[in-house]
Amino acid sequence: MNYDMILCGVGGQGGISVSVVVAKAAMAEGFRVKQSEIHGMAQRGGEVLAHLRISDGEPASPSIPVGAADLVISFEPLEALRNARWLSVERGTLVSGISPYKNIPDYPDIEAVLGELRALPRVLLVDADSLAREAGNVRAANMVLVGLASTLMPISVARLEEETAAYFERKGKAVVDANIVAFRKGRDAGK
């Protein structure tokens, strides 16, 4: 079993934390993982891209080949479109939030971006910000997307929730609860 996923967005949207949560859950399930991310200048409002490879063997390359990803989770629609090239034509699914992060002057028309996303063969779009707000913490939008994508990942819901709770534990119960609720709202949105 090999399961390759890309996590992308804009610096500060919580891509790295999601990558850690999913990787830990995968390991708890007994899989081997490889994770790769580029930080440094990319942290400063630029594009952020993390690779996560889950396998029962040993993934060779830390980065996923283009056209090979089972899943692309994007926290932002323009970044979703930019990173659709990673998707496997036969089996890749794109999961993305719909709220644009506009920190550039030439951000394209959002309806056009969403239109191109909807035209992809397998795509799940969700208003992650609204669901996160409903969950009590707008910063948990990333967990809404993980919840939605959890219907596709080879990892049990219980493991993902356990690792989410463990990851946010030091930030207090309110943050943990909001992230778990956000995760469940995302998961329900996919049903």
Partner: protein, 570 residues
């Protein structure tokens, strides 16, 4: 398949730590850890009994020191006796040269020392680096250098293997996190056995990716044991000539080790592949498809240690019809194989055009070089996708400083603003477009001085506090001593921001006394608060100092907001 290409574990364990496969790391300590490449090296050094670690922050090497420091603060590290942590010294330094020299001192005292830096940092440390090859290293000294092919956050993509060669030093190049850990340990043993510094070269992708690492038992640190009084650390010409000869005599042993470390796996005779460092992982990614397409396995030589294993390469060449070289960075191995007279079989690689001469390798580029068809991707949409360049964080003081500087410069028909390396380099981008150069650490001050001497007025240098301490100070000494007509703007945010907010080596309060000590006229050292609410007053002061004939310094002070967040958390 992959197991036969692994760096042999028996070469990587320390002599007193039998580490064939999974060995419990003592007590309740875990046997395996998921580690980032940088963390794997830090832990490897720790388990090799390192006593002293020195570094200057630089992406992608920063997390090596950060890991050591966080373990020290916690008082424990995976698989390490707690007592080791108490004795560990892990310190940020002013620059890579000072870091290197401190590590050298620790080796002189008999302790194991690690110094870590990014690739361009080795240029700064080149003087101690090259000369330390000649002395008789006492405690093991490992120089970890993280190259940044593709320039994710660097100004060039120089290849450290070439600099190791220049210094006539051995260079280890791991392919994954496990090898990074194993080789960090092995490098210390090698360093002590051959009494030379050992270079451990990694690249961004390895530094910043994580995978599972099997740990071996930790070795105890060395006792204090000063270098023998045989003058082998005194590089006066007569002694240096002897030491240079000694280094040249060691080359044979370095070569022999590289031959042993290289793994030759013979397969079919059509294609031979030389896979160096992380490039091996990209090959493995495509190996199944390659075998399917060829109907047989290619012959593969895995290179993990330099100098180049020439014997193994000749052996490979005698068995195959053509060779493809996969290496991250320069076509270093490829060029050497072809040489002046050409190779006995056709050699392809980055020089030949089979792979790009610049940028980072990827599984896809290697796939193409192997002659495999591209993987099918979804058709591209018609919408243009604008790039999203990095920018100042919301509320960053640098934006306010640049707005004030630009307004103060506006009345002048021409001027020059030379800048430097740090977050503030982003001031080159719109909407600020406020700086005109970024070359190397500390260059802003020297360049403004040279520009002023050449006739430009006003000549402005913009530098961050950490970069000023790194290597801006000597340039300012030059400017003051010669009365150069320049204005130095120090953006003092009390941190090294771009690399994730490490503390500046000296507190902000020490800056003004330092400037006075250098000889800057106290009347022309102006301290301002870098905030938009002070904009008009700041423009006025900067204008006054631009107009001052002679060196003047404007310090724009406000804490980095990332640093503020980080310190609040701590």
């Amino acid at each position: 398949m992959s197991t036969t290409l692994q760096y042999p574990r028996n070469m990587s364990s320390t002599s007193d730590a039998a580490a064939a496969g999974k060995v419990p790391a003592g007590g309740s300590a875990p046997v395996v850890e998921t580690l980032m490449g940088d963390e794997a090296i830090a832990l490897g050094a720790l388990h090799a009994g390192v006593s002293s670690a020195y570094a200057y922050p630089g992406t992608p090497s920063t997390e090596i020191m950060e890991s050591l420091q966080s373990w020290k603060v916690a008082g424990k590290a995976p698989g390490c006796p707690d007592a080791t942590m108490g004795a560990l010294l892990a310190e940020w330094c002013s620059n890579e040269k000072t870091a290197y020299e401190s590590a050298l001192g620790a080796s002189f005292a008999g302790r194991r020392a690690v110094v870590s830096m990014k690739h361009v940092g080795l240029n700064v440390a080149a003087d101690p680096f090259v000369n330390s090859a000649l002395i008789r290293i006492n405690g093991g000294l490992v120089v970890v250098v993280a190259d940044d092919p593709g320039m994710h956050s660097s100004q060039d993509e120089q290849d450290t293997r070439v600099l190791a060669d220049f210094a006539r030093l051995p260079c280890f190049e791991p392919a994954d996190q496990q090898e990074a850990y194993d080789m960090a340990r092995a490098a210390f043993d090698f360093s002590e056995r051959h009494e030379v510094p050992v270079v451990l070269r990694i690249t961004t992708r390895l530094a910043h990716s994580r995978s599972i690492v099997d740990l071996a038992p930790a070795r105890a640190p060395n006792p204090l044991r000063k270098a023998e009084a045989d003058k082998s650390w005194i590089l006066m010409p007569a002694i240096a000539r002897r030491r240079w000869r000694a280094l040249l005599d060691k080359q044979e042993a370095f070569h022999a080790h590289a031959e042993d470390a290289a793994r030759l796996e013979l397969g079919g005779s059509e294609l031979g592949i030389v896979a160096c460092g992380i490039a091996r992982q990209y090959l493995l990614e495509n190996l199944a498809d390659l075998e399917a397409s060829f109907g047989s396995k290619p012959s593969i030589l895995t290179v993990s240690t330099y100098p180049m294993p020439a014997g193994r390469i000749r052996e490979l060449a005698s068995k195959v019809r053509r060779i493809l070289v996969l290496e991250e960075g320069y076509p270093y191995v490829e060029d050497a194989m072809r040489g002046v007279f050409g190779a006995p079989v056709p050699v392809e690689g980055r020089r030949s055009g089979a792979l790009p001469l610049d940028g980072e390798l990827s599984p896809d580029l290697v796939r193409k070089a192997l002659g495999l068809p591209d993987r099918i991707t979804l058709p591209k949409g018609s919408l243009p996708l604008p790039e999203r360049p990095p920018q100042f964080c919301q509320g960053c003081p640098h934006g306010d400083s640049y707005t004030a500087l630009k307004e103060a410069l506006a009345p002048y028909p021409s001027y020059a603003v030379n800048s430097d390396i740090g977050c503030y380099t982003l001031g080159a981008l719109p909407p600020w477009s406020a700086i005109e150069s970024c070359v190397d650490m500390g260059a802003s001050v020297g360049m403004a001085r040279g520009a002023a001497g050449a006739g430009i007025f006003p000549a402005v240098a913009v530098i961050g506090d950490s970069t000023f301490y790194h290597s801006g100070i000597p340039n300012l000494v030059d400017a003051v001593s010669h009365g150069t007509n320049l204005t130095l703007v120090i953006l003092d945010n009390d941190t090294t921001g771009m690399t994730g907010a490490q503390p500046t080596i000296a507190p902000a309060s020490r800056l003004e006394p330092l400037l006075r000590g250098i000889g800057v006229d106290p009347a022309h050292i102006r301290q301002l608060r870098a905030h938009r609410t002070e904009h008009a007053a700041n423009v006025k002061v900067i204008s006054e100092e631009l107009g001052h004939e002679g060196p003047s310094v404007v310090i724009m002070v406000r804490e980095c907001i990332e640093w503020a967040k980080k310190s609040r958390k701590a």
